[in-house]
């Protein structure tokens, strides 16, 4: 195997992220793909191979999912939004709820305790622009968080599952940015985020 540099990758960020976030997302997605009952065995193996803080990372991801889920519950209740936006928000809300549910089940199946839902607080969502501003920020951060963490996932099955979720995050982000009048992708390559950066992105909305 060559060890030469790969100049084509120069424009692509490869950031270190905790693999915990990946495992979390992966486990969640795997449950969705193959059924919650099927996910436990290989998740357990992956955790055995990965050691240490995987549960903590799963719980970190669960926290992020809770923030997203809470946001969309509020967003779908906003009156007077354009029908297309309202429909998209409703769809995304369902996806985030599914992620939360699957993640919670996975953590429980691993014999751990899911983190309680954080207390969240969002600015007054008056009108489409206010809703879209936060939605786009949350989804772009979600894409970056997954993409940043995925290369540290060791189990191919969990990696595939993480890919399954980030794919959907990317669709959310693209659709919302288009509705916000932005280009769907900020650039040709999505930037990855560290866990600290992902945390910072949701911090304004977490109050406890």
């Amino acid at each position: 195997m060559t060890t030469r540099a790969t100049p084509g990758l120069d424009g692509v960020q490869v950031r270190g992220m905790t693999r915990s976030a990946f495992l979390l997302r992966g486990a969640l997605a795997a449950g969705g793909l193959y059924g919650a009952g099927a996910v436990a065995p290989f998740v357990g193996r992956a955790f055995g191979a990965g050691g240490g803080g995987d549960i903590a990372i799963l719980n970190f991801a669960l926290t992020l999912e809770h923030v997203e889920s809470d946001f969309y519950k509020k967003a779908v209740a906003v009156k007077g939004l354009p029908p297309e936006l309202a429909s998209v928000l409703h769809q995304i809300s369902g996806h985030e709820d599914a992620h939360v549910q699957q993640l919670t089940q996975t953590i429980q199946q691993l014999g751990a305790t899911p983190s309680p839902a954080p207390k969240t607080s969002f600015p007054a969502l008056r009108g489409a622009a206010a809703v879209l501003r936060i939605a786009v920020a949350l989804e772009d951060a979600g894409v970056g968080a997954y993409n940043g963490a995925a290369p540290r996932i060791q189990s191919p099955a969990l990696l595939a599952a993480a890919g399954s979720i980030v794919h959907v995050e990317g669709r959310h982000a693209g659709a919302l940015r288009e509705l916000a009048g932005k280009f769907p992708a900020p650039g040709a390559f999505d930037k990855s985020l560290t866990q600290a950066e992902a945390t910072a992105a949701v911090k304004p909305y977490v109050t406890g």
């Binding site: 399954s164 980030v166 794919h167």
Partner: protein
């Protein structure tokens, strides 16, 4: 090496190739090249009738199908590059028809530029790994109307995004994986917006997207490549 026998996907494409000679021939013809055919045949023969277990990378270096484009990550990258060539050419052709206007024209130009950036990066990455970039296909598209163009763009983006998803667990280099992921979500963004213009849901497959095998992907784009 942990078994992933409870994950049904990695074996399926190989099974399909092994049991469906017409599918195998079609695949080899599309992928082109006798040496590639030999390589895939060897990979298939090596599998024999055994039930495969373990990761996709255990067969042909790069998993089912992409070994035909080269070994290991180079094969996966050249498979992706082939699809990016197709996408870049499609957007170029779509813009050149003069049948697009407004936001769709704007998006076609922008997305086309992003696909071209993917092409450039993947070519450089293949060379960086000591490989030779895949030969550029000469695709043909039927782009008679705005509706036909939009439908084709949407279809190709859906396939492309699913194709990347289908390879993420087969890539060995973490740097290559990071690059593939960075492209994958951009394709997903494109796919969602084009689908929305056709009245489709944000994520037609729901909260969890399904990966596509290279066999499935190549069959879906066959009509463009074999013209």
């Amino acid at each position: 090496m942990p078994s992933t026998a409870d994950s049904p996907r990695p074996e399926s494409a190989l099974e399909e190739l092994r049991h469906d000679p017409s599918s195998r021939k079609r695949f080899l013809r599309m992928a082109g090249g006798g040496s590639a055919a030999v390589a895939l045949s060897l990979a298939l023969a090596a599998c024999g009738g055994k039930k495969k277990s373990g990761g996709g990378n255990q067969i042909g270096g790069a998993g089912v199908g992409t070994a035909d484009f080269g070994q290991g990550d180079v094969g996966i990258l050249n498979y992706a590059l082939t699809l990016e060539y197709l996408e870049a050419d499609l957007y170029r052709a779509a813009v050149a028809t003069g049948k697009l206007s407004g936001r769709l024209l704007e998006l076609a130009k922008r997305f086309g530029a992003e696909e071209q950036a993917h092409v450039t990066t993947l070519e450089g990455t293949v060379r960086g790994l000591g490989g030779k970039p895949a030969s550029r296909p000469k695709p043909r598209f039927a782009l008679a109307s705005r509706a036909q163009i939009l439908t084709t763009l949407s279809q190709v983006e859906d396939v492309g995004a699913s194709a990347y998803l289908g390879q993420v667990d087969r890539i060995q280099s973490k740097a290559v994986l990071a690059a593939a992921l960075a492209i994958h979500t951009v394709e997903a963004r494109h796919a969602a917006v084009l689908g929305a213009m056709l009245g489709q849901p944000v994520s037609p497959q729901g909260a969890f997207a399904r990966p596509a095998t290279s066999v499935d992907v190549l069959q879906q784009v066959q009509g463009f490549l074999s013209g």
